[in-house]
């Protein structure tokens, strides 16, 4: 009898422990996606996309796909010029949704935006936000394909105009110089795709996976940080490239650009400033208080750096800390600035969003009611 009890307890313990491994005490399985326009912050967190008023932090609406109860959102939503909020699911049916915040329906006191169109043609999770340029959407997916969609064809079930097979997992938003679309991949590749023919113009590899977006510098060159711990400079026309700065560890996020200076960080928590004109660092890296995966947020007179330790640092252009705010939890998502506020989406806190004023003082927090 005692052995039977031990055996049953052992099985239950194993099942509970193994099940616990699949999730965690987070809102979702990874950090949330965040975007904002003049009035609204858009938070993609686990199974729900929220629209939140920037005035008071109150929920305006929420979107949870009725036909896909396994959907998970964590890519940054993208606000198209026509006002549609485009966000993809990283689980379930891997659908890309175009939500219309101006067309709200109510059901049992829950307000939801109507999905004007959906795209179900991708085979993997949506981690990267799409790039909107003109009437086109360039949407990189974890299945290694770049999907080119028309924004305004009036179709509610979108078909891709073109599927460009690049390879690897595509986790970062592309950028464009007007002639080419530049896409980075976890397979270590940087790709340039012709914006009209959708042909791959060039493909070059670096020495590590690239989870962040590239950025075009004022010198017309393309800069890319990678898990190979190097910042590399690419000629956008030919793809010729060379490392310009060695970091201490993985460079996760997209660098921030102000004038001719790139600001970026590594996962050891070092924060760098690189002058694209001189090709030299402006100062020795500074180390706030923890690993950094969020991109720096360039403000008028300072740069905001969010750390995994849950802090927000405001630095001047010499790397001197102007003020610090302990937001709480862990900050991985790049903060956004809108409506005179800085919006932060930390993990492992009892609130999902915090809005800070220009001095780092907390204005409101957002926690969903249920």
């Amino acid at each position: 009898m005692r052995k039977k009890f031990v055996f049953v307890m052992m099985i239950l313990l194993g099942a509970v422990l193994l099940s616990a491994c699949a999730g965690g005490a987070l809102h979702g399985t990874t950090w949330a996606g965040l975007a904002a326009d003049g009035n609204t912050a858009y938070l993609a967190d686990a199974a729900i996309v929220y629209g939140i008023s920037l005035d008071n932090g109150r929920e305006l609406w929420r979107f949870s796909p009725g036909d896909d109860n396994k959907a998970q959102f964590y890519s940054n939503p993208v606000i198209a010029p026509n006002g549609l909020v485009i966000v993809g699911s990283a689980a379930g049916k891997h659908t890309l949704y175009a939500l219309d915040p101006n067309d709200i329906v109510s059901n049992e006191n829950i307000k939801s935006p109507v999905a004007k169109w959906t795209f179900n043609g991708a085979g993997g999770p949506w981690v990267a936000p799409p790039l909107v340029t003109g009437n086109l959407l360039f949407a990189p997916n974890s299945d290694g394909n770049l999907y080119v969609l028309s924004l305004n064809d009036g179709q509610s079930a979108k078909q891709a105009l073109k599927v460009v097979d690049l390879g690897g997992r595509l986790w970062a938003k592309p950028v464009t110089d007007g002639e080419r679309v530049f896409v980075t991949s976890l397979d270590h590749g940087v790709y340039a795709v012709d914006i009209e023919t959708y042909d791959v113009v060039w493909h070059k590899d670096v020495n590590g996976a690239i989870p962040g977006s590239p950025i075009l510098g004022p010198d017309g060159m393309l800069y890319v940080g990678s898990l190979g711990s190097q910042l590399e400079k690419f000629d956008p026309a030919t793809g010729n490239h060379q490392p310009v700065l060695d970091a201490e560890n993985w460079i996760w996020s997209t660098p921030g650009l102000e004038d001719d200076t790139l600001y970026f960080a590594d996962v050891d928590g070092n924060f760098y400033s690189f002058n694209t004109s001189t090709g030299q660092p402006n100062w020795a890296p500074v180390k706030p208080d923890g690993p950094i995966t969020a991109s720096p947020l360039i403000q008028n007179d300072h740069i905001l750096v969010a750390t995994e330790s849950g802090s927000l640092f405001a630095m001047d252009h010499d790397g001197k800390v102007l003020w610090t705010e302990e937001v709480g939890g862990k900050i991985y998502t790049t903060p956004v600035a809108a409506g005179g506020l800085t919006i932060v989406a930390p993990l492992e806190t009892d609130f999902y969003l915090a809005a800070l004023d220009s001095n780092g003082r907390r204005v409101w927090t957002f926690t969903p009611e249920n």
Binding site: I11, L18, C21, V127, Y332
Partner: protein, 253 residues
Amino acid sequence: MWDLFVSLFINVLLWIYDVIGHNFGIAIILFTILIRIVTWPLNAQQMKGAKAMQDLQNDKDWQAIQKKYAKDREKLAQEQMRVYREKGINPFASCLPTLIQFPIIIALYQSIIRSLASTPLDLLKLSRSISLPNVSDLIPLNSNFLWMDLGRPESVAIFGFALPTLALVVAITTYVQAKLTMPASATPGDQSAAMSNMMSIYMPLLLGYFAITFASGLSVYFITSNVLGIVQYAMQGKANWRNLIPAALARKK
């Protein structure tokens, strides 16, 4: 402490993955063989413990106290403990290796999920687990093995239905291994045999459920471990193949 344990698994897996030419499925199989070698003394102890318990069922002294104290459970338990002491038997010796399996399964599951890093948070956690030099070249790992994505539960679409083939293989090999290692019982009402019988039913169901629910890399571990167990018992001549034949058929023979 637990994180160190998982990190150790990750680094060994990554090292094997690097050495064998970037095949994560083969890395899991080789890693399982390594675990079987490391836990060999425990398996040997389990087999020894099971054999001792089985022999005890046929012991005259043991049978006598079962009969004598059939209606006094407390006294029966005391007498059983006395016999265990006298004969130097640990009644839980055969359970220990199974208990050891669970932390290994959980750590392996976490190390597979973290190594394959299907979400940004998993990839970031992976960066903290790696102590091997120059490993960033390897990342991301190739999660494809045969028809599977090792980071996701496996199923094969057959006539429109998603059939969890790997889970079935896990359940079958677990059942076969459990049955092969079950000694034939001579005594009716033999507690040890009843316990083994129960395990041979519940364990395949449990591991089959794990295989359906969790990453298929874990199923590769289960299947490899089961097959190795079967081969190990067979090579030692301890596999009881008659147990695979249903009882009714066995009686007819």
